[in-house]
Amino acid sequence: MQKISRLIYFPLTIALCFVIGLSVAVPVSASANPVSINDLVDNSSEYDKQTITITGEAIGECLERQDGSWVNISDGTNAVGIWMTKADADLIKVYGDYKHTGDTVTVTGIFYKSCREHGGEPDIHCVSLILENAGAGRSESISVEKILSAVGIVSAALILFIIYTTKNRNISH
C-alpha cells in the first residue's frame, strides 16, 4: 500500500512543482500585451527601461540616420518614435499620410522615459518588428453636395462682385 502511494504521490508532487516552477520561471513579460502609446507616456516612470510592446500605424516617413532609423508610430491614442535598425525599417513599405494608411506594425522594444542616447527624448529602442497589416492607398469620396455648394457659392460671389462694381460706378458719377 505504501509503495503504491509513493508511486502516486511522488510524481504528483514533481508535476505540481513543475507547474509552479513554470508559472514563476517563465517571465510574465509586459511584452505579451500591447500597451497604448498614451498609456506608455502617462506611466512613463513605471515603464521606464522595460521591454514593452506597442501596435500602431507607421506614419510620415522613415528618417534614416547614420547608425539606425527613426520610424514614428501612431496608434490613435498618441504617437512615438521608434529607433530601429535599417533592416527593420526596410520591412515597412507604406507610411501613413493623407493618401495612405500606413503599415500596421507590432514593435517590441525597450521604452526609455528620457533616452540618454537621444537627448532625453521619450522613445522605444526596437528589439523586434512584426508587420501585421500592409498599408494601402486611401481613396477620396467626393460628395455631390460639396460640388453643388462650390458651384453655388462661386456663382453667388461673382454676382456680388458685379453688383459691387456697378455700385462703385454709380458713386463715382
Partner: protein, 511 residues
C-alpha cells in the same frame, strides 16, 4: 444728393474696411487651392473653393453696405481702427474655419474656430484630430494662418489695399502694432513684410537643408521646412504632425527652430534699426535686455530644479528638453519637445510655476509674440527702481529717469501707468482662466499652466486642451487668445462702439 452724415456712419466705415480684409483673406485661400491641385487632393480643393466663395460673398456684402466710406477716409477715427481690427478677427475666425470643418478633422465647428483663432493669434493649441493624415493643402493653410496672423491681417491689408490717409494708421494701431518705422504706415507695413519675407526664404532654405540631413525626402523636407519656418517665425507653435517637433528627433532641427523663433519674437522696429546699421540697438534695447535676463533666469531655475531629480542626466538632454521648452514658452512659440503630460508628471511644481511666469511675460511688443511683453515688464521694473531711488535720494534732485527703446525715452508716470494697467488686464485674464479650469476639476497647477499658455498665446499644453474639454473652457480660451493677442484695447473699443450703438437704437425706439 445723399447726406454724407447719414451714409458715412460708424457701422458703414467699419463694414467697408472689414469687408476688404475678408476679401483679402479669400484671395489668400488661392494658395491652398493651388497646393491641392498640385498634390491632387480633390476633396480639400472643393473645401477651399467653398470657403473662398463664402469669404468673398461676405466680403462683398460688407463692402457694398459700407461703399460710401470709400471716398471719406478722413472720417475714420481711432475707435474705427480698433473696431475694424477686432471685428475682422472675429469674421475671419468664422470664415477661415470652414476648410477645417469641411475636412472632417474637427469634431465640431467650435473646434474648427478654436484652431483658427489659435492660428491667427499664433497661440498653437490644437483641437484638430489626426494631424498625421491631414492633407498637404490643409497643413499649408494652418501654417499660413499663423504666419499671416503673426504679421497681422490688418497690416497685410494695409500694405496692399488701403489708400494712404489718416485712417490707415488707426487700423495699424488697432492691431497692436504701434511702431512707426517710417513716416507713412503703408511704408512701415511694407518693411515689416520685407523683413519677414527675407527670413522666410532664408529660414525655409536652412530648414530644408536640415531636413535633408536628418533623413527627410526632398519634397517633404521642403514642405516641413516651410511649415516649421512659418510656425517658428510667427512664434505660432503648430507642427504638421501629432508629435510636434519631436517628430524629427533632431537637435539640429530644434536649434534652427530656436534661432528662428527667438528672432521672430523680436520687435520689428528692432529688426529695422539693426538692418539700417544701428547694430548697438541689439544690446541697448530694453526689451532685449529684459528678455535676456528673464529667459536666462527661467532656464537656470528650471535646470537647477530638474537636475536634482536626475530626469535629464546629461547636458544635451537638459538643453533639448529644458532650454528648448523654456525659451519656446518665453517667446510664446509653443513648439514642444516633450509630451504635454510630461510637464505635469515630471517637471514638478517649481518647473510648472517658472513656465507659467515666463509664458505670461512673453516676447517683445510689436512682434509676433504674446504675453505682457518684455517692454512693459522692463518699464514697470525700472519704474519701481526709480521710485525707490527717489525715496532714498534727496528730494531736491530732479533727475530724469529714462529707458532705451529705439531711442531714449523718459520714464514718466503716464508710461509706467499704462504699462502696469495692461499687465493688470492680462493678470485678470489669466486669473479667470485658471479659476475656470479649477471649477471644472483640473488641478491648480494644470489650470494655471494652460491659462498662462492661452493668455500669453503660447501654445504649450499640459494636457487640458483636447476635444473632450468642456465647451465653456473652449469658448473662454478662444476669447482669451483673442483678447491677449489684440492687447485688449481693440476689443474694448469694439464693445464700446456696439454698446453705444445699441443705446442709440434704444433711445430712438423706446423714448
Amino acid at each position: 444728393m445723399t447726406n454724407p452724415e447719414m451714409t458715412v456712419s460708424s457701422p458703414r466705415i467699419i463694414s467697408y474696411y472689414t469687408g476688404f480684409i475678408l476679401l483679402g483673406t479669400s484671395a489668400l485661400m488661392i494658395i491652398p487651392v493651388i497646393t491641392a491641385v498640385c498634390a491632387r487632393e480633390w476633396e480639400p480643393l472643393l473645401d477651399f473653393v467653398i470657403s473662398m466663395g463664402l469669404a468673398a460673398c461676405l466680403g462683398f456684402l460688407l463692402i457694398i453696405f459700407g461703399r460710401y466710406a470709400r471716398n471719406h477716409s478722413d472720417r475714420v477715427q481711432w475707435k474705427h481702427g480698433f473696431a475694424v481690427a477686432a471685428l475682422s478677427w472675429i469674421m475671419l475666425m468664422l470664415t477661415c474655419s470652414m476648410p477645417y470643418f469641411l475636412s472632417g478633422h474637427s469634431l465640431s465647428y467650435l473646434d474648427s474656430c478654436f484652431d483658427v483663432m489659435s492660428g491667427f493669434t499664433t497661440t498653437g493649441l490644437v483641437l484638430t484630430q489626426d494631424l498625421d493624415h491631414l492633407s498637404i493643402s490643409m497643413n499649408m493653410w494652418r501654417h499660413m494662418l499663423t504666419f499671416i496672423g503673426g504679421q497681422g491681417m490688418v497690416v497685410l491689408a494695409l500694405s496692399f489695399i488701403v489708400k494712404e490717409g489718416s485712417g490707415a494708421y488707426k487700423f495699424y494701431v488697432g492691431e497692436g502694432k504701434d511702431i512707426a518705422l517710417v513716416p507713412n504706415v503703408k511704408g512701415t507695413a511694407r518693411i515689416i513684410w520685407k523683413i519677414s519675407l527675407v527670413y522666410l526664404v532664408i529660414g525655409t532654405f536652412v530648414f530644408w537643408v536640415a531636413g535633408l540631413f536628418i533623413g527627410l525626402q526632398p519634397v517633404s523636407a521642403f514642405l516641413h521646412a516651410l511649415y516649421m519656418f512659418e510656425s517658428s517665425w510667427s512664434t505660432g507653435g503648430f507642427g504638421p504632425n501629432t508629435q510636434n517637433i519631436m517628430y524629427y528627433h533632431s537637435l539640429l532641427y530644434e536649434v534652427v527652430a530656436m534661432v528662428i523663433f527667438i528672432i521672430g519674437s523680436f520687435n520689428f522696429g528692432l529688426h529695422y534699426a539693426i538692418w539700417q546699421g544701428k547694430r548697438k540697438e541689439f544690446v541697448k534695447n530694453i526689451e532685449i535686455q529684459s528678455f535676456a535676463v528673464t529667459s536666462f533666469l527661467g532656464c537656470v531655475l528650471v535646470i537647477a530644479a530638474l537636475s536634482k531629480t536626475g530626469l535629464y542626466p546629461d547636458a544635451v538632454s537638459m538643453f533639448r528638453r529644458v532650454v528648448f521648452n523654456v525659451i519656446s514658452a518665453h517667446t510664446t512659440t509653443g513648439l514642444g519637445s516633450v509630451y504635454a503630460q510630461q510637464f505635469a508628471q515630471q517637471w514638478g511644481d517649481a518647473g510648472i510655476l517658472i513656465m507659467v511666469i515666463v509664458m505670461l511675460i512673453g516676447g517683445s511688443a510689436c512682434s509676433t509674440a504674446g504675453g505682457f511683453k518684455g517692454l512693459r515688464v522692463g518699464i514697470v521694473f525700472k519704474g519701481i527702481l526709480r521710485d525707490v531711488r527717489k525715496l532714498i535720494n534727496s528730494e531736491r534732485s530732479m533727475k530724469v529717469y529714462k529707458f532705451h527703446y529705439m531711442k531714449d525715452i523718459a520714464l514718466e508716470d503716464g508710461v509706467i501707468r499704462s504699462s502696469a494697467l495692461i499687465i493688470v488686464c492680462y493678470m485678470v485674464l489669466f486669473g479667470v482662466g485658471t479659476l475656470i479650469g479649477t471649477f471644472y476639476g483640473y488641478s491648480m497647477a494644470d489650470s494655471a499652466f494652460e491659462a498662462a499658455s492661452v493668455t500669453g498665446n503660447v501654445g504649450l499644453s499640459i494636457g487640458i486642451t483636447n476635444a473632450a474639454m468642456p465647451v465653456v473652457m473652449k469658448i473662454y480660451y478662444i476669447i482669451a487668445m483673442y483678447l491677449g493677442r489684440l492687447e485688449f484695447l481693440s476689443v474694448f473699443a469694439l464693445i464700446g462702439l456696439v454698446i453705444a450703438g445699441v443705446k442709440k437704437v434704444c433711445k430712438k425706439y423706446l423714448a
